[in-house]
Symmetry: C2
Subunit: 319 residues, 2 copies
């Protein structure tokens, strides 16, 4: 398994950027991540609904963008994929936890996610809330045990702090509070809406993508300067990710997205298309892509290819 992955990476990185078989790389990474996630939440004793509920959302076939970002950031600073695998899984657990919470009746009240009923529709609200906690706790545990992969305790603690920051009042929860407050905003307020919108997305989406990249770079042994460059790259990626998400919400069907389309419009949410229109939103995403790629200048030209390609992938994604 290890050998196959290593061969793939070597084959891929020997090609020039434009020829880079990014989808093979994504699939290879996603396969490794899915296997590690499956092993991280075994259905062991005592039998708990929570474990089933954790697996239900965690193994429901996401694109694994965050773990890939974590692994690729580890590799771009000279680290090994295997060293960052626990950290990559941890980041995906935090993401899964936030998805479960976002879908709750008292939040976005959503019934469809990745083409399946949402977690609380299957397990009930009480179990879902506990499942979100359990995923956060397991993420901390997985990340904290990275010392067994040869990472120094100092670096692991630094990574734990980055993760805590991404979850708390400097990250996800602040974004979700602003998102809840932003629903039903009238059109008169749209002029001042862009600032509010960026606050939401910097906290709700960009913070965890940033943590994914930064944690990967910390675990991989990156210098402070390398870590900060990857932080800025990931922050651009985070905003871009959300601009594209907003555009897809108004231009695609539920079937194409695997989740309820047009829900932002129904909820009266602030979105980029609403504030600046669909065309300007697309241009803004392109601008962020150029900025993101700019922050990668100076890294090894071969090793940086996956991160460059990931930016293109996100700006061009169709679901």
């Amino acid at each position: 398994m290890r050998l196959t992955r290593h061969l793939n990476i070597r084959q891929l990185t020997s090609a020039a950027s434009r020829d880079f078989e990014f989808m093979s790389y994504m699939i290879s990474k996603a396969t490794s991540v899915n296997k590690a996630l499956d092993e991280a939440v075994p259905l062991c004793e005592p039998v708990l609904k929570i474990r089933k509920a954790m697996r239900y959302t965690l193994l429901s076939g996401g694109k694994r963008v965050r773990p890939m970002l974590c692994l690729a950031s580890c590799e771009v600073v000279g680290g090994q994929e295997s060293t960052a695998m626990s950290a990559a899984c941890a980041v995906e657990m935090i993401h899964a936890s936030s998805l479960i919470q976002d879908d709750l009746p008292c939040m976005d009240d959503d019934s469809l996610r990745r083409g399946k009923p949402t977690n609380h529709k299957v397990f009930g609200e009480g179990i879902s809330i506990l499942t979100a906690d359990a995923l956060i706790a397991l993420a901390v545990k997985k990340l904290a045990t990275s010392t067994s992969l040869g990472v120094s305790p100092e670096r692991v603690l630094q990574a734990v702090l980055e993760m805590a920051k991404a979850v708390g009042t400097e990250g996800l929860v602040a974004g979700q509070e602003a998102d809840l407050a932003g629903e039903g905003v009238s059109l008169e307020e749209d002029k001042a809406g862009l600032e509010h919108l960026e606050f939401i997305h910097i906290h709700k989406t960009a913070a965890l993508l940033e943590a994914a990249a930064v944690i990967g770079a910390i675990i991989g042994g990156g210098s402070d300067e390398e870590i900060e460059r990857l932080r800025r790259y990931a922050r651009c990626m985070g905003l871009m990710f959300q601009v594209v998400d907003d555009v897809l919400d108004v231009t695609k069907s539920s079937e194409e997205l695997g989740k309820t389309a047009g829900k932002d419009l129904v909820a009266g949410k602030l979105t980029y298309p609403r504030v600046m229109g669909v065309e300007k939103s697309r241009e803004y995403a392109e601008k962020l892509n150029r900025e993101a790629r700019g922050h990668l200048e100076g890294f090894d030209s071969i090793k940086v290819v996956p991160l460059m390609s990931l930016a293109d992938y996100i700006v061009n994604r169709q679901n």
Copy 2:
């Protein structure tokens, strides 16, 4: 402030166990903890409802049993109170987070806690759920920054792992799942109920008290053997705490408790009085107290006094 506390401790520990002015000690510790908690969640920019909601529950005047247990465990292995203060605050944040969740409509659906409306009654369910997350994230952050107090990164990581264990499927969330499942259990099932009941309380109550003591001992520089003895002591304390809680629920009024009395009976919950009667429950609590104190044998006879007294305090508490 430091000097006063030190004088108090010296004055107190110079007396024999039976004369120990435990309440002064408790108040002194609670005062230090309240000050540290107040500073840990400032109402800074950006203005968030979540920060207000965190402070609402965190600073609502609990007895601070868990932080005290953490600080006293640090001191009994030779550490300083100040070294364990961040850890003690972290443990109380986890506790506050679990209280907020337990009171939610989809959990115990409670409207009164410590004589005040519960968190979701004041801030709404969405904000309350985010607040619980924010408290967990801040707890991890506070604990992880204990290195700035001179604790080695290895020990801090070990403490972080203990905390993650207490929150996740080996602790609080497993206990809460079993608690939810235990409601409405018929009387026929009561014979097999004791095992289920102990599972709930070992996970829901004892796990965090255990973490409080163990984290204190880790941060204080305790040996593996000292850490394990404090773990066993705290586990007995945890069960005892819950036996007493169950007895109080059926023997005291809401006014005396500062929370809704008799609610376990109404919810059809498994409790010790229901399984073994009030008198046997009291005897069981006394037995656990003797066991808890037994695990403290071998520690410095002066330094151990607060932990001995805490066991007596918990078994005799009236609210």
